[in-house]
């Protein structure tokens, strides 16, 4: 009987008695037969594992959907390697839009039915909505001065905004176009009470094309105007967010309602 036939019979449990003993002995002593046997066994396991086959297909499909949604919602960043990878969510997928829309509706309804809506002054509103940007993203770059940014970010994460500002300042002085350094400078300036400096940082980011931090810079700029009691500018800024910035849309809508009251 040929090897393949013996292996198939063995795996089907059809070998018995002397034939079975002989085959098991051969498996121990014949590496080529052993290798073929493993192959048969693994092929069977592979074909039987329909869960994995299905899951792999699903991954392929979802990847395609993901890539399509990426290309339709964002311009590809050609200089990606020089940019910083931030795990900022893309909020243009259907689920998010549905969730965001629902949240807007729910928020609006809740506000409408509040019998005695509280009103807050700007300072109170600012303290209710402002918190320093938290990041647990990994930042990597081939920039030669990148370690300086990492140091600044580490200090920032520890809550030492003054120390972080010193590091970020060294970077922005040399290369003003280093967007993440500008962004975290902006937050650090707010923390240090230097609101006008923060405004400059965020405005700078908003003037740069297609960067992932625009969405956050818009929000923090609005909060800066709130803090400095520049209500007209704040209203314009939050209005813009309500219209175009799904990420902060709800909070901006809440703030607008409060300011207008």
């Amino acid at each position: 009987m040929k090897n393949t036939e013996m292996i198939m019979k063995y795996l089907d449990g059809e070998l018995e008695g002397e034939e079975l003993k002989w085959f098991e002995n051969e498996l121990k002593n014949d590496p080529q037969l052993a290798e073929k046997f493993i192959l048969h066994k693994e092929v069977n396991e592979t074909l039987k594992d329909t869960d994995s086959i299905r899951f792999r297909k699903k991954l392929k499909n979802i990847y395609q959907t993901f890539i399509n949604s990426e290309s339709t919602t964002r311009n590809a960043n050609k200089n990606e390697i020089n940019n910083i990878s931030l795990s900022i969510p893309k909020y243009k997928n259907t689920w998010f839009l549905i969730a965001a829309s629902l949240a807007v509706i729910i928020t609006t309804v809740c506000i409408f039915y509040m019998l005695k809506p509280k009103t807050y002054n700007n300072e109170k509103l600012f303290s209710m909505y402002y918190k320093p940007y938290e990041t647990d993203a990994s930042y990597r770059s081939i920039r030669t001065d990148f370690s300086l940014f990492s140091q600044g970010l580490r200090i920032y994460k520890q809550g030492d905004f003054k120390g972080a500002l010193e590091k970020f300042k060294l970077l922005t002085e040399n290369d003003n176009a280093f967007i993440p350094a500008n962004f975290f400078s902006g937050i650090s300036f707010i923390e240090e009470g230097q609101i006008q400096e923060a405004v400059k940082s965020f405005k700078f980011i908003l003037n740069q094309n297609d960067n992932g931090l625009i969405v956050h810079a818009e929000w923090y700029l609005g909060l800066c105007y709130l803090k400095t009691n520049e209500n007209n500018k704040a209203i314009d800024q939050f209005q813009k967010i309500v219209e175009n910035n799904l990420f902060y849309q709800n909070n901006a809508a809440e703030i607008l309602k409060q300011i207008k009251q």
Binding site: E42, D51, L59, S87, A99, K131, E134, S138, N251
Partner: protein, 211 residues
């Protein structure tokens, strides 16, 4: 510091447990969410270490396959966040791939946001590589062969198979099955990639397996 409030809507929509459960249930929504949340970081890691978009796609997919297998076997256990875990798996797989391509760069650029993952990750990766090759050749078989082998592996009785396939006798069904399986095994064994993958397995095992 706290998470920005609006993040709750999106970033914090799924806890680690929800994500794992979602993978177990093959939930499209959760899988898409994983791509949205984690893919970019992996892409960056691979790109700055001599890889391209296709490499990212493959490594990410293999990492997901490994996680899926570990979840199914109740072997997935980690303390960190899901994104850190998948990043760590991808990092290891990419190091392995670079080694295989003999393109390991002088310096491997990486963040410090990763953990040491279990040793079985590489075993599962290699196993999946072999499985992909088996499936590739299986898909090259005739439709009749694919159907026949699938029916056998699903434990359908031979009489039933003979009837389904419209063969004249059970013996004929057995002969056809034998030929289909032999063709499949021969095709796999004649693929140089198989020799490489097999050697990798035996190299890892340090010996030819014995029973």
């Amino acid at each position: 510091m706290y998470k920005i409030r609006t993040n709750i809507l999106y970033m914090d929509h799924y806890t680690k447990e929800k994500i794992i459960e979602g993978i177990r249930k093959e939930d499209d929504k959760i899988i898409f969410y994983i791509y949205e949340k984690c893919f970019k970081q992996i892409k960056h890691l691979i790109k700055i270490n001599n890889g391209d978009d296709n490499d990212t796609k493959d490594i990410f997919q293999e990492a997901m396959m490994i996680i899926f297998a570990k979840i199914k076997n109740n072997e997935l256990n980690f303390e960190c966040s899901f994104s850190t875990y998948i990043y760590s798996v991808c990092r290891l797989l990419w190091l392995k791939e670079l080694e295989k391509r003999r393109r390991r760069c002088e310096k491997f650029f990486e963040g410090d946001n990763y953990i040491d993952v279990d040793n079985d990750v590489i075993e599962l990766f290699e196993k999946n590589e072999r499985r992909k090759l088996y499936l590739k050749h299986f898909n090259e078989l005739s439709e009749a062969c694919q159907k026949l082998l699938t029916l056998f592996l699903n434990g359908v009785p031979i009489k039933e198979i003979t009837k389904i396939m419209g063969y004249s006798s059970d013996q004929h069904t057995k002969n056809r099955r034998y030929r289909c399986k032999k063709t499949l095994i021969d095709k796999i064994r004649s693929n140089p990639e198989y020799t490489e993958l097999k050697n990798e397995k035996y190299r890892d095992d340090n010996e030819v397996p014995r029973w």
